[in-house]
Symmetry: C2
Subunit: 307 residues, 2 copies
């Protein structure tokens, strides 16, 4: 089924204990679209770039079947740029630079071809921009998935809650779930967030995996144990791309299939962190993905003893 | 099969955001033996208490089928006492008091009846005391499981390594695995610890579950999501009791069965944290345990999609 992704297409410069990159392609929209491209033939991207964004990067996206018609290029302006340095403990990072540039006035344009999209992924952005995209679609998609972050909880909670109310699946991390609900218990936090509008909640726990809450059901997908995490940048966005990519591919939004989608999201994220930036995500084989999902299954499977 | 447990039998006084207890029964040996008693008919405890330890506590242990012949009572001395206060984030606790008392000179006695034990659990204690128990058994048990903590890594690493070399399964938490190996990657840490002697390593990750490393195999058991953790005291010891209890009951130390043992250990620990001290562990039904193991299975089970 058709899939539209809204999210930043940007430059990143990353430093981890394993090395550092120059200015490379980054952005939530980039990671999410690339991940989804292994599941859906023609994911449609909505984003904004400046005049400095290289044509070859767009060509790379198109080579993955990603439709770039929804990416506006703003002349005379520069592309969003983020730079960060990860500590030995990669859960901690220092932001070295955040230059919003074109993202500061992002007014998303929905091309006509995107109008009948069935699956919509709202990458982490200003909540009002995410809402604008929903409003500019003439028909509500079958499933809307939304990513966000603590920054919007701190600076524009009302705006954020307005957007959260409109979506089907909210994806946040454990700290954000605690902040949004005001409780330390993740199970209670999930119940409270599910009362804010979304029917499903995914709580990402980094190296500890991800949990899916849906009605009274809970599914826990551990993260695949990885010997060396080279660069965690984009892991969450990749997860989202694998998650919604699988759902759009199978067009099945039952709880059983959402569990699989969480596992495919986790599998995709495990590739991303093994190399810098989008390096691994650009050159994956579908057989590698299936193999990794089998690894997930083996990691958690045990046989119940007879009674 | 026969199971012997070495560990402290003590007084605890616990404060959590949910309330506080007076002096109640505690100690690694207590939690481990109680947990194991749901799997094994007659777990044999080796420990030491002072003259102040109430007979009714011993009677409670015996009511669970636990053999207390290996518990020495030292006249004129007091029982080990620990007191702690947990923060809102229960991963953080302040130790308010540690009075070693009889534990300071613990010289473990192995009753004759314990000599043919097949399964041995070494609860967290001075590493030389743990080793003494191994040496005082005329026949090496089929499986020796050892718990320990960072304190011994900081204060007597050589002694600790000598004991680790002698055991089959080492149980530590994630921070301890990183400290013992000197690496931040859990997968690498596991490989290094497995080179120190044990054939199997369990890394406990608290609310994030537990991982079993064995040869090239990894198994990940998440922790059951619990709405309110009342008191985490004894969770690790309870885990150990469920783990070795299941193995002793089934007398099967294959990797497949060790996975089940990790799940049973996790299930038992999930009961302990729901009430203060040993309160829940004293009054469990076997049917509750099986039900919880089924919950574990449901939490992680997903169906692989067809190719």
């Amino acid at each position: 089924m058709s899939l539209t992704i809204v999210g930043s297409v940007a430059f990143d410069a990353i430093e981890t204990p394993y090395g550092k990159t120059g200015k490379i392609i980054g952005g939530a929209g980039t990671y999410t679209a690339l991940a989804s491209s292994y599941f859906v033939d023609n994911p449609q991207l909505i984003s904004v770039i400046g005049e400095d964004f290289p044509e070859e990067y767009l060509a790379m996206l198109r080579k993955h079947g990603i439709c770039t018609d929804g990416i506006q290029r703003i002349d005379g302006k520069k592309t969003f740029f983020w730079s960060g340095r990860y500590h030995e403990d990669m859960n901690i990072r220092d932001t070295l630079a955040t230059e919003l540039n074109v993202l500061g006035e992002f007014d998303p344009v929905v091309p006509n071809d995107y109008q009948n999209t069935e699956y919509l992924m709202l990458g982490n952005l200003l909540p009002s921009v995410q809402r604008t995209v929903i409003e500019r679609l003439h028909k509500r998609p079958k499933l809307i998935v939304m990513d966000t972050m603590n920054f919007w909880m701190n600076t524009m909670l009302d705006e954020l809650l307005k957007t959260i109310r409109l979506v089907d699946v909210l994806v946040i991390n454990d700290e954000e779930a605690k902040q949004l609900s005001g409780t330390k218990s993740l199970v209670k936090a999930a119940k409270m967030v599910l009362r804010m509008g979304p029917k499903h909640l995914i709580i990402k726990k980094g190296e500890h995996g991800a949990m899916l809450f849906s009605g009274g059901n809970i599914f826990y997908s551990p993260a695949l144990p990885i010997e060396d995490v080279f660069d965690p940048t984009g892991a969450g966005d990749t997860f989202a791309g694998g998650f919604i990519g699988w759902l759009a591919k199978t067009d099945d939004i039952s709880f059983e299939n959402m569990k699989r989608a969480v596992v495919f999201g986790s599998a995709m994220a495990s590739f991303t962190v093994e190399k810098f930036g989008t390096e691994h995500l650009q050159y994956l084989e579908k057989s590698e993905i299936r193999k990794r999902v089998i690894n997930f299954s083996e990691l958690v499977t045990f046989k119940m003893p007879p009674k």
